[in-house]
Amino acid sequence: MELNPIKDAFDSVIKKQTLSSSKIEDTIEQITQEIQQTLSGIQSAINVPSSQPKLILGELKTKLKEIAPLNHLEATQKELNIAMSKYTKLLEKQFYPDISKSYRNVDFDTHIINQIIASHLYRESMFEIGDCFINEAHEEETIVDKKTQFLEMYEILESMKSHDLTPALKWATTNHDKLQKTGSDIELQLHRLQFLEILQNGSRDEALKYGRTHFAPFATQHFHEIQKLMACLLWVGKIDSSPYSDLVSPTHWAKLADELAQQFCNLLGESYESPLKVTVAAGVQGLPTLLKLMNVMTGKKQEWQSMKQLPVPVDLGTEFQFHSIFVCPVSREQAGEDNPPMMMSCGHVLCRQSITKLSKNNSTRPFKCPYCPAEVEVAQCKQLYF
């Protein structure tokens, strides 16, 4: 986005403002001086009995009227006002001036939103702020469970930052069965890191002992991995220059911490990314399209408020693609349970309704695939599940 014109417009406001300020200062200074001059005039004439303060004051009055301080200020103020309104107009032109244009006036439950915010704050490790929020918003502490869970996760991650795996291993051992079920090998990965940590600190015996007790349960499934690790024992103290140097690269710590956070959330039944963050990010991407839509829908505000489906596609990045959406290339309709995607014998896929139409509702009559020369039959079409 080209911000330079906006910056220039703002700079010109600042310039005009400085000008106006200094002019005001000058004017006040000028008036003060005139008054002071008159003052000293009167005072010096204090012993002259014939002096007439009224005359002197009258002179001052005419002088000040000549200066016409207020008219003076008006001009600069006007210029400043012009610069300011220029800037405001530019902002309105360059940005979407009202992003609430596509807002639907529906009841957005504050209580639900507050709960979502509170759990977002906790899962982003802003525990104190989360507590403060719950307190201030008078939300019941139904999400306290969530807080303790995430507190545990951040304690584990914090310890990992200082190369202490004890809490992580404790968690992995407690959740051994669950982790196995999801097919995660994070427990072994943690043991591996611990093993290498012991080895790097130089104690071969201790490492060997550690390996024996902790690798054994994984032997059947991760045989190669463990072999490699045991071979490291030969290189105690100089793993850096061994063929296994990549095993001790410090990036493993950060990677494993990420993986642990993912597995931790997974076991909690939570997503890895904060759902609030994901939704707002999707909103940021989608909103421009909706606002443009509103521009063409002017006058159909009522229609918009009751629409069941958006009239235009809102393109989000692939990171927001959580479901397979099949759109029939013939009818342009989204597939659903009552109109599932069907693959014809040539491999092209259409929706069932389109196939019924193409075959003229005759299941034995062959018809031509709209995308290739193949002749296909309804009976040979296969329903797909994405």
């Binding site: 303060p53 405001t88 902002l91 909103g283 959406i325 896929v349």
Partner: protein, 415 residues
Amino acid sequence: MESNTNGNSAVSNATISSATATSLPSVQGAVPSSKLTQLTESLKLEHQFLRVPFEHYKKTIRANHRAVEKEVSAVMSTLSDSGDLSQDDAVKHLNSLVSRLQGLKRKLEDGSRAEHLQAQRCKARLDHLESAGADNISEWNNTRLKRILVDYMLRMSYYTTATQLAESSHIQDLVDIEIFYEAKRVMDALRNKEVAPALAWCADNKSRLKKSKSKFEFQLRLQEFIELVRNEKNLQAVTYSRKHLSPWAASYMKEFQKVFATLAFTCNTGCETYKVLFDAKQWDFLMEQFKQEFCRLYGMTLEPLLNIYLQAGLSALKTPFCYEDDCPKEDPLSQESFRKLAMPLPYSKQHHSKLVCYITKELMDTENPPLVLPNGYVYSTKALEEMARNNNGTITCPRTRDVFSYSQVTKAFIS
């Protein structure tokens, strides 16, 4: 020959991509242009972010200027009023004017300090927008979310949390806490059934409220009138209305008459039309009204930014599949709270198929085309190839547990 044409097309591809890179000079080349347009579009949503501090700045400038005008013209007029004075009195008089001007000067110094701070804030916001680029986008987005949250908290009057969040993230310059504190004073007073601060606020912003044809002040006055009637100070109520309500009568005759009728009905009335006027809910209504006027004056959206973004996001994400039991956890709409919020919103629409592999959650496109098992279930090539590699060429459908050989899979063509 063939290799030659390939080479040519590679070159022309390269020139095309370099051309797009140069046409967007502000950001580094390697980023896909769609990401860049997305970034630009998202920055365009930040009108309020620049507008609000500027309105604040403007307000301070105007207030300072008004002070100057007032003082200077006062000095001028007292000078013209001074008639026949003795020498001593003239000296005294002039001295008082000088000290008055000096007072004004001091006041202006404070004023210009405030102006300067607010100008800095406007500048900081411009710089923050400019700093958004491909290399810091995730951090920038995190800050944006925090800004949105602070905005929400301020509008909901959760001032302590808002301040804490802003301070802990060092984004005080990027949020409008000070401005909302101005609203807090009025809101607190209205909560205590006091209108004075709200009226003072109206007086402060008189010209702008008039421009937007606001009747907020009228509503405040009506409430004051009602309170007088409630306390059976009828005579006072009449004098009050003569002074404060009559100027509005021309534009809002009906309401004016209705409220005036309460003099006859008193606060114990059973008549519905007049009973509501004595209801404590009227104060909530005034608070709501004030919030709207306040937001409008500063160029803010009437709804919290969070609600706007959440609605847009939920509409864009909402599909019929979100409400099924096997909705993946990563979809925010797998959560009950998000589903409830999305209930009254429209479903998203797609013009083109977008298929996600059930196993790898990756997009199935020409790079990673979808393959069909004999049972009709579809998975990505990558997922099935890996499964076959690890299991000696057999594939187990993760959803039906059917076992097939990799040779049985067929390609599906999705257009």
